[in-house]
Symmetry: C2
Subunit: 370 residues, 2 copies
């Protein structure tokens, strides 16, 4: 397999211990050994989101995208209104998912590289009767970081009955996130980003209020993604007792348990600060020393797990870095697709100084005389 | 991790090579290295189902259950009629999944341990105007094997426009299955059964006709499970070129590629014959020498990847075997839940003679003087 340095915005480089936990024999999904692992993983997942005992973690075999189906098919009844704050490709796709399950979607679209002004959110909420607002914490297509805390405050003030959903795919483990304190109702992420596990798991957190909505729902809009079916299973596993609806990905859960353990070990806040430092270092080097421009408009709206950089010939840059053994990604925002590159700096690559991954990436970019 | 011999009807013991392929670094899901692996896996998947170039394989991150959502949300429009042949827990759950997506379901229920008579199927089809018939090849709750070929013949004769869906979760790799020759339209399985991979992948095969239904469908009933979104992605990867809708589970796909390779290596027919031999040996020993009764009524309707055996005190038997390092499963059919055990004999445990797994399980059962 590859010995490249993988610096796309997920999947990312996984640690040796996570890799070892993945390459293990299968366990019985209903046996006590796996039940203990699943219980541990669920409990660590709470800590990762800064969620307390009233919140409900849900871990499913699937891509991160499955978390969108979980939100749209369990928390919204067809015909109900959703306000989507759009900052790029991923917000737009999430909006399509809501529509697939019958939601009426209004979109507030941010300027390219920026956030939706909080005043616009306030105004829309005041007139909207929205069942849900959806925010993409970090839109991986533009590396724009949204101010989830401020938006949550406005929602609580103007439309407290509106459920708050946050797509945290590229933020859990590398951005400040306070599920309970900010009053989030549904947050979703994936295993292969800053958490540092392999891809293949959808990771969600529900507030007590969201659990109520899901459990009290009569008609189900999905089967495999049905929370009414999964919540009792998760609760049983968290009590240490196996239960069955569909077979969990046992090796991936085992690897996730190790990966979250590594995120929590230095303290979650320290881990997030480390991502901020590496991100600030890389962004300042790229802008100040190489004179390149970022897609994210300014420091305040810039994500810390990846950097999106305008370059003249993205395929050439990507290919040149590949020759140095560094894998980065191209752009995917529809308006500027062929104009920028994306460099991920999450997990091991950002936090294990001995690897020097981000330094090496910067050196390789510098050598291209862009 | 566990050194137990895992003989539940999936997840099963995986080979050392599959385990090694799982415990590998993450790859870029859009890079050429992973595209080549995914292409290889898709091509091998065709061979596994005995499906030709007009059939379409689909590999998704998810539990096997996700394949039910794929069928129900892509091939059936709300209000259309589905005939479900029910042989136990899994057929009944699949029927619930169809109903979740708005299908009108009629069920033909087999006697416990037996099949639905083909004459009943013929009669129902003649009067039914069914968009789809669904058959569970092996119902893992009862170890009953259905005669898919005969049912397919009747469908083609009486109601050729009816789509044929087969749940092959516990049959692909251990039972005779001819996707093209029998005229199946949609077959689904999971990675952790006789294919011998870890759990976490939903594996499907569509006929040209089913692809047409999925692609011509206007309103989508699911997002992550939408074939209209996934088919172009699979076709692109099979041409060796990456494409994106949601991030595939790269390590699981890599492990699946190795696992299917191992299934195909001795020749698929030889592999299936091996399962039949081991199954026949185990079943005859258990019935003739231990005098125990099987849940499956007779040899003709008995699956070859697992055996369901009536015993007086299932929890005691399971616990006694666990002490000998052998993990088997309890019953899950609603009518006889506490009356039987289930022993899986698939993949490595059935085909690698040097392991002696099934012999050891039989010896352990014998020592209990049941």
């Amino acid at each position: 397999m590859s010995s490249n340095i993988l610096l796309i915005p997920g999947p990312i480089v996984i640690s040796e211990n996570v890799q070892a936990a993945l390459g293990t024999p299968s366990l019985s999904h209903t046996g006590p050994e796996f039940a203990a692992i699943f219980c541990s993983t669920l409990q660590k997942t709470r800590k990762l989101f800064k969620a307390g005992e009233t919140a409900q973690p849900v871990l499913l075999a699937g891509s991160g995208t499955l978390g969108w189906d979980v939100a749209a098919s369990n928390l919204i009844i067809p015909g109900e209104r959703v306000l989507v704050l759009s900052t790029g490709y991923f917000s737009d796709s999430f909006a399509e998912c809501f529509q697939t399950y019958g939601a009426k979607v209004d979109k507030l679209t941010a300027p390219l590289g920026g956030q939706v002004p909080v005043s616009d959110v306030r105004e829309a909420l005041a007139n909207g009767h929205y069942k849900m607002i959806s925010i993409t914490h970090v839109d991986t297509s533009t590396a724009v970081l949204n101010d989830v805390r401020s938006i949550c405050r406005v929602v609580k003030e103007v439309s407290p009955e509106t459920l708050i959903t946050v797509d945290c795919v590229c933020s859990v483990g590398c951005e400040k996130l306070e599920f309970d304190a900010w009053g989030i109702d549904y947050a979703l992420t994936a295993s292969q980003k800053a958490i540092g596990c392999a891809p293949g798991l959808s990771i969600s957190m529900l507030s007590e209020r969201a659990v109520g909505v899901a459990l009290n729902r009569e008609a189900q809009s999905s089967f495999f993604a049905s929370l009414k079916r999964w919540i009792p299973i998760m609760q049983s596993y968290e009590k240490g007792s196996a239960a069955y609806f569909a077979t969990p990905a046992v090796q991936l859960i085992n690897a996730l348990d190790v990966a979250i353990g590594e995120v929590l070990k230095p303290g979650l806040d320290a881990r997030i600060a480390k991502h901020r430092d590496i991100s600030n270092w890389f962004k300042s080097k790229v802008t100040e020393e190489l004179g390149l421009k970022l897609v994210s408009a300014n420091e305040r709206v810039s994500a810390h797990g990846l950097t999106a950089i305008y370059v003249k010939n993205p395929p050439e840059v990507i290919s040149a870095l590949k020759k140095s053994g560094i894998v980065i990604a191209g752009g995917i925002h529809k308006d500027i697709k062929g104009e920028y590159i994306r460099v991920g700096h999450m997990g091991e690559s950002a936090c294990n100084d001995s690897l020097q991954h981000i330094q090496k990436c910067y050196d390789a970019l510098k050598s291209l005389n862009l």
